[in-house]
Amino acid sequence: MRSEQEANRAIGQYADTVRRICMLHLKSYSDTEDIFQNVFLKYVLSSVEFTSEEHEKAWIIRVTINACKDLLKSFFHSKTVSYEQLLEEQFHELQVRNTEMNEENKRVLESVLTLPVKYKDVVYLYYYEEYTAVEIAKMLGKNVNTVYTLLARAKELLREKLGGDILA
């Protein structure tokens, strides 16, 4: 079991990463709180020995994505909301928490959030975390060609939503 100091260090270091993945997948702030608790509890109790910071970060990302998917599966039948409501809730959360966001960033974020679920992780991992398709395939347990296909389709969808200028 890891020490409290290690746990606090991990929270400080990876909270933003976990928050972004939660933002991509979840419907409410309370779900995000649940995921935070689950991810970092699992981190504390895990006996995995990390060989590097990158290894640790990749582990956190994988666990967070799996936790989000598990939560969505369990809640899917009993609790569904429309995308409009989801976006409204998420932007409201950001506004409430004094996060200032310019119109362009808001438009890009909205486009990413409204992508079908299967594209969100690859878009986030490729464009934001800058992992390679090979690394993403390993992380998500997918075929490398599948990752390339998902990226190409996601890019096409984003182009449709945002127009060619922003993607230049």
Binding site: M1, E4, A7, N8, I11, G12, A15, D16, V18, R19, R20, M23, T32, E33, F36, Q37, N38, F40, L41, K42, V44, L45, S46, S47, N66, A67, D70, L71, K73, S74, L94, R97, T99, E100, M101, E104, N105, K106, V108, L109, V112, V123, Y124, Y127, Y128, E130, K155, L158, L162, I166, L167
Partner: protein, 267 residues
């Protein structure tokens, strides 16, 4: 596109309250003993010396114990986890959280136990890792995809151990999966279960069914899968969805067995 997406996502940051709440949660759940230690009064340091002496004595005793029967102490299971689908298996866990025995309680369970030991090498691994390997194995996934029900029952050596195991299972997120339920068993039931040649997880489900239909015998359920037992409970008016396939119903994330006996897992 990299820059546009990066800029947009950069705006999302974890709120301080979220970080604080997570740290507090871990503190209360895992590290509370350390907090108690920090609150220790002035004579605490003397207590610490006392503890040091105790630890030293224990180490000496351990040396003696390891000299004469270390292996048997290591191999002695003090806790257990029963996983029942159609295969029924029990993982025996020693005081160092290592799986020291894998036992099947029906034909499928025996076959799965062999695979787990010989191919997936879960013996002597940490129980959380072992459970992760088991739940994500193609055998269990296969049952889940065919609407099978997976029941995980925890038998802790004491309250604290049980809570730790439940927290660990909760953290692994199994409870969020459809058709996976988690329970806490007790030692008395486990002994009865073993007398009948059943895992304690399946025996717990049998007792639940017997509450609704007193004519049901152990022999009746021995050949049934967990899904079939749960269907019979549901048919008899038992609240399977809420009471048996429990999802995160309380802080521990799993349901505790209140069957008239002390549910702390002690004899």
């Amino acid at each position: 596109m990299h820059n546009q997406i990066r800029k947009a996502l950069d705006d999302i940051q974890a709120e301080e309250a979220l970080k604080q709440n997570t740290a507090s949660f871990l503190h209360n759940r895992i590290y509370c003993n350390k907090a108690e230690k920090q609150r220790m009064p002035w004579y605490g340091s003397w207590l610490q010396y006392g503890r040091l002496a105790t630890v030293t004595t224990c180490l000496c005793l351990l040396l003696v114990v390891f000299g004469f029967g270390g292996r048997s102490v290591y191999m002695e299971p003090v806790s257990a986890i029963s996983v029942d689908v159609n295969p029924s298996i029990e993982l025996g866990i020693n005081r160092w959280d290592r799986v020291v025995s894998v036992e099947g309680y029906n034909e499928d369970g025996t076959a799965l136990a062999e695979v787990l030991q010989e191919q997936l090498n879960i013996k002597y691994s940490n129980y959380a890792d072992a459970l992760d390997t088991l739940i994500n194995s193609e055998y269990i996934i296969g049952y889940l995809e065919n609407d099978g029900a997976v029941s995980i029952t925890v038998l802790g050596s004491d309250d604290r151990e049980r809570e730790k195991m439940l927290s660990c299972i909760n953290a692994c997120g199994y409870m969020n999966r459809p058709n996976v339920s988690c329970h806490a068993g007790n030692h008395e039931e486990a002994e009865e279960a073993h007398e009948h040649g059943m895992s304690f997880g399946k025996y717990r489900a049998f007792l639940e069914l017997q509450k609704l239909d007193a004519t049901v015998t152990v022999e009746d359920v021995q050949g049934l899968s967990m899904r079939e037992i749960q269907d019979r409970i549901e048919k008899l008016g038992g609240n399977v969805t809420e009471d048996t396939i429990g999802n995160m119903q309380h802080e521990g994330g799993c349901q505790e067995q209140n069957s008239g006996h002390s549910h702390n897992g002690k004899h």
